[in-house]
């Protein structure tokens, strides 16, 4: 006895490859946004990435190709004027960068006073899908302070 279902509210159809049984997803869950990084950085007057490195070719995040964008959340404990810079580049399938250096996606003054939250989208407009990102911060005045960051990858 074939399995049948009501198609288009009026037509009986047998279940087959051409007319598969329609299913509705219930309790669907969204594709999760992935936590990529949680770090506390001491912001100094030296240009460092969020993980504290001054090595200019070293990425902060690697293997990010699947993410349409990254969202950088932070809580800053100090008010010192701070510059941030977001760099990105692509790698080949072996993970090797296509070349030296980076594309500068964004640079600017890190918003917020002492003990405030911030949020920066990477890239600010359009889609990402870069393989590697390097996120740098350094203060241009004032005193060192702690910056706690979380970066989420969104598909």
């Amino acid at each position: 006895m074939p399995v049948r279902f009501l198609r288009n509210a009026s037509e009986l159809a047998d279940v087959s490859w051409e007319t598969p049984l329609p299913v509705q997803v219930t309790n669907a869950r969204p594709v999760p946004a992935d936590t990529l990084l949680v770090a506390t950085t001491t912001v100094t007057d030296a240009n460092r990435d969020l993980l504290g490195s001054t090595a200019t070719e070293l990425p902060t995040l690697d293997g990010c190709m699947q993410y349409r964008k990254l969202v950088w959340f932070y809580f800053r404990s100090g008010a010192a004027a701070t510059t941030y810079r977001v760099l990105a580049r692509a790698t080949d399938h072996n993970g090797a960068p296509l070349g030296a250096g980076w594309i500068t996606l964004a640079t600017g003054t890190l918003p917020g006073e002492a003990n405030t939250w911030g949020r920066i989208e990477i890239p600010a407009s359009g889609d990402g899908y870069y393989d590697q990102y390097r996120i740098e911060v350094w203060r241009t005045a004032g005193s060192n302070y702690d910056l706690t960051s979380k970066i989420v990858g969104v598909r």
Binding site: G63, F75, H93, N94, A96, D146
Partner: protein
């Protein structure tokens, strides 16, 4: 019963996330509550409401937890308010009340809050520290010398030493212990009011955490010295840990700082011990294991020890025999990164292959090396000392340490060895197969998969039939050649595999795991994981991994070094006049106020002080990576073993009673470190167990989402 604790803190911005990471790793549920202030009038913000600190509502709320943990502490005894609100909880002692865990608690006589002082229990047996009378209320610890910074900020270095006797367990262990400290940067232990303690110890008290059925219990004291040389003694009323009914008064467990969870937390033994005392039964126990790099190697034969190669091999033989037996008794496995590549690429006479087979070594030296090697092979097969590939011979260092391994010498045979003409770099054209037009790919086209990415490559540079060529390092083709060459050498050495037997793991040279293409190749060869630093291809530094990276089922285990030296081989716990990085005290900045260096030649106690600090520092680094990062702790055997007495290799440290070849105190690093960690494991049967790297990887899969 579900283990559940409540963390009470003043604010998230001073909360050390190691608290929650450890609880997560143990499978202990937690709730975070934030106070509205520090005074007795403060309220506690809980998910069920805001409750006054002394209210029945709060007490009832707390009763759902196994333990309430206070997270705030200070290094300033003059502070008038920090956790004053907690004074009410000292009287919540019914059987339904949870255990309260206080770590480095602030109960100073400087507190002027009348609500605190009037509610502080009059029968509390530990003397309240008084910043105006420190000498009369506290005992200076660890030599009583002032450090350059607060003892509380010690991380991977700058720790203080202690040997603690745990009374109920009758176990001595070196664990970093600071009961209180002040702005003078001196660590202190507590002073007991013996009359009050006596009354409590004789009073019956029923609570699930009162293991002796009494209202008061001394949990731990400074351990009495084992040698007359050691003059760091403490009065009989000195305590470091105490139970007052269901209240645990414990030393410092976690530095109060805004920080992501990392393994720079050297005091966490007391958190683990506190959880165990409070009867919090973790869902998971943490596996303890250790690794070595270069299990068979020789170092310099010059001053100060002048150890001949045969002497060094004798030291290694005795130590490996002991370590193999330790692993067997404790049911653990000491995995080893064995230096390969030297059969083909690195000329020299100090690495594994050369020591066994180089004709520039004497027969006696080769024989001595072979005796060590045979222990490793036998241990690999029985599971006590499994060995894996560890290659310092590729280009700059380790996997992908540079863009090209110039003059790379490969093996012969197998699939990627000479004279096979094999790919050595990515094809100049690479297209995904589902979008590749027909007829476009070149004659040498082949499908390559790295992770989820599958590409058809063609126009691929190849090796030719020779053994020597420049090898571009950044491709799965290069990785395959390199790894097969390493495994071939392991097989030639008599091992049945190159990945630590059933563990399918190795610890990598320079902690360089390379990057995706190397992980792919390692997976193809059957590896489950490797050790990897975050900068995973230093000094090239184009790749990075996070400490909990899990790549398509492949583990990248973060490293933690436990050597007693920072440069070349160790000259001992301390060596007068030597560069700091040549001895343990200098490497880990343990010479507080010069109390070791200034007294080394005149006061024998300085050696014991160094011994305690070194053991505390390294045990805490090991415990930190075990409990927070679920990483791989490791040391270099011969580099750490040179300070032993060659005739008394395995004997325990005994100050100036046993001297090494440089007439300095004998010290066997692996014996001391493993025995001390064994004491810690025996103290924490609910929390720790001797396991293997497989257990570590299993647990990482379990808890690192």
């Amino acid at each position: 019963m579900t283990p559940k604790v409540c963390l009470v803190m003043r604010e998230f911005s001073s909360f050390n996330r190691a608290w929650t990471q450890i609880l997560r790793n143990l499978g202990i549920d937690y709730t975070m509550c934030v106070t509205t202030g520090s005074a007795t009038g403060a309220s506690i913000q809980t998910p069920q409401g805001v409750f006054a600190a002394g209210s029945a509502d709060l007490r009832n709320y707390f009763r759902q937890f196994d333990a309430v943990i206070l997270c705030d502490n200070t290094g300033n005894l003059a502070l008038t308010s920090l956790i004053n609100y907690s004074v009410f909880w000292l009287r919540w002692n019914d059987t339904e009340d949870p255990a309260f865990l206080f770590f480095n608690p602030h109960f100073s006589a400087a507190i002027t809050d009348s609500g605190y002082n009037s509610n502080f229990p009059s029968d509390f047996p530990i003397v309240r520290p008084n910043p105006s009378d420190i000498a009369g209320t506290l005992y200076p610890a660890d030599g009583g010398s002032a450090g350059s910074t607060s003892p509380l900020v010690a991380a991977g270095t700058a720790g203080r030493g202690a040997c603690v006797l745990f009374l109920a367990e009758n176990i001595r262990a070196h664990v970093m212990t600071i009961c209180n400290t002040h702005t003078n940067n001196i660590p202190y232990y507590w002073r007991l009011d013996t009359a009050k303690h006596s009354a409590l110890a004789n009073a019956a008290y029923t609570h699930r955490v009162a293991r002796n059925g009494r209202a008061g219990e001394i949990l731990a004291v400074p351990a009495p010295p084992t040698s007359s040389e050691d003059t760091e003694t403490y009065p009989s009323d000195c305590v470091v840990a105490y139970r007052y009914r269901n209240i645990f008064w414990l030393p410092h467990a976690m530095h109060r700082r805004q920080d992501a969870a990392d393994d720079r937390n050297p005091f966490l033994f007391w958190l683990l011990y506190g959880l165990q005392l409070a009867g919090v039964r973790p869902r998971y126990k943490l596996p303890v294991q250790i690794e070595t790099d270069h299990p068979l190697q020789a170092v310099g034969t010059g001053a100060p020890f002048n150890h001949a190669i045969t002497t060094q091999m004798g030291i290694l033989e005795a130590s490996w025999d002991w370590m193999r037996d330790f692993a067997r008794r404790k049911n653990t496995a000491i995995v080893n990164g064995l230096v390969v590549g030297t059969k083909y690429r690195l000329t020299g006479t100090v690495y594994h292959w050369h020591l066994l087979y180089s004709t520039s070594r004497t027969q006696a030296e080769r024989d001595a090396a072979m005796r060590v090697h045979q222990i490793l092979v036998a241990g690999h097969r029985e599971g006590t000392t499994p060995c894996g590939v560890h290659d310092h011979t590729i280009g700059t260092n380790g996997y992908w340490g540079g863009s090209t391994a110039a003059g790379f010498v490969r093996h012969s045979g197998l699939r990627y060895g000479a004279p096979n003409d094999v790919p050595i770099a990515r094809g100049n054209s690479c297209v995904a197969p589902h979008v590749l037009p027909a007829g476009v790919a070149g004659a040498d086209a082949q499908t390559v998969q790295v992770g989820d990415t599958e590409l058809v490559e063609w126009d691929i540079p190849t090796s030719g039939t020779g053994t020597t060529f420049d090898l571009p390092a950044g491709s799965v083709h290069a990785a395959r050649i390199i790894i097969e060459s390493e495994i071939e050498e392991m097989l030639a050495l008599g091992f049945p595999d190159g990945y630590c037997a059933g563990h399918k793991y190795t610890n990598t040279a320079a902690n360089n795991s390379g990057g995706e293409c190397y992980w792919q190749a390692l997976k193809e060869f059957g590896f489950r994981g490797v050790r990897s630093a975050p900068e995973c291809n230093a000094p090239y530094r184009t790749k990075r991994v996070t400490p909990n990276r899990y790549w398509n089922g492949f583990h990248l285990v973060p490293p933690k070094n436990l050597d007693n030296v920072d440069d070349s081989y160790s000259w001992g716990l301390y060596y007068p006049g030597a560069p700091a990085e040549r001895h343990a005290v200098g490497t880990y900045r343990l010479d507080h106020g010069g109390d070791i260096s200034a007294n080394w030649t005149t006061q024998p106690v300085a050696a014991w002080r160094a011994y305690r600090r070194v053991l505390c520092q390294l045990t805490s680094r090991w415990l930190s990576t075990t409990a927070v990062a679920l990483g791989g702790a490791y040391f270099h055997p011969i580099h750490c073993l040179m300070p032993v007495s060659p005739s008394r290799v395995l004997e325990r440290f005994d100050g100036w009673n046993i001297l090494n070849a440089a007439n300095q105190p004998h010290y066997n690093h692996p014996v001391e470190l493993l025995e001390n960690m064994d004491a810690v494991v025996r103290l924490l049967p609910d929390v720790l167990y001797w396991g293997t790297i497989t257990d570590v990887m299993d647990h990482r899969e379990r808890v690192m989402g």
